[in-house]
Symmetry: C2
Subunit: 151 residues, 2 copies
């Protein structure tokens, strides 16, 4: 079995690419952008998360007490752009999750160029992010975040 | 990308091996055994189910109105023993789902030898099946099925 292909299949089923936003008064824009790639599993499948962590040579595994699962997660921008994103360029996702991945990649590349420190560019990052994972829940509405940027 | 490895990864995330039981008065045992391998996806990822169907050269895809998903499913015993099970022997599952697969394989092999037409052997199939997919729901309790066999 080829682990790279297996991994993409597993992520197509269980993985999540997301970009969340936190309000941070010490930030010049007032908003922190947090991209995250994660995969969750129950305890008895923890081994596969460790293999994914070994494969990517980055990320952490933590217990989520709210749903009793373990989550492998990569949040560091350089790990995302240098390790995670290249994997999914080489082994492309086959489900509609690839559309989330494309937006995720776009946002990470913008952040690599530091454009998220500019309010106007950050507004477009927010617009892109809120078209991802439409079934998910958000702490702050898009309108609230965009309003903060025009103050 | 190698599709066989991808597929095992996807099934590790999204697939289901199950064995259900229906009460059938016209059966000598009174109970029909129905093994099933299935993978569900939302409409916008229907393509990947079609690719899985092409890969296995068997099974059907149907719409499930209760949750709005599409389900690729293989129920024919010969397709399960000759096409589905050999795939997962060659490309082994990596999560705890492999324990469900092992029980599923054991039951399909027993059925291939027609032992499920014998009440005592059917009782052991029921015992094995009820140790699979522990989070799932069952129409009939194990005790009810086993009681039927001792009448």
């Amino acid at each position: 079995m080829e682990f790279g292909s297996y991994l993409t299949g597993f992520v197509d089923g269980e993985g999540c690419f997301s970009v969340s936003f936190n309000l941070r008064s010490r930030f010049s824009t007032g908003i922190e952008v947090r991209p995250s790639f994660s995969v969750s599993q129950k305890k008895y499948s923890l081994d596969v998360l460790k293999r994914i962590q070994d494969y990517f040579h980055c990320g952490g595994i933590r217990y989520c007490s709210n749903d009793g699962t373990y989550k492998f997660e990569v949040r560091t921008l350089s790990d995302l752009t240098q390790k995670v994103i290249p994997h999914f360029k080489m082994y492309p996702l086959q489900t509609a999750k690839r559309f989330d991945f494309e937006k995720f990649e776009q946002i990470c590349q913008m952040m690599k160029q530091n454009v998220h420190l500019n309010k106007k560019a950050l507004a477009s990052i927010i617009e892109i992010a809120y078209r991802m994972n439409l079934a998910g829940t958000r702490r702050n509405s898009k309108e609230k975040l965009l309003r903060l940027l025009t103050r």
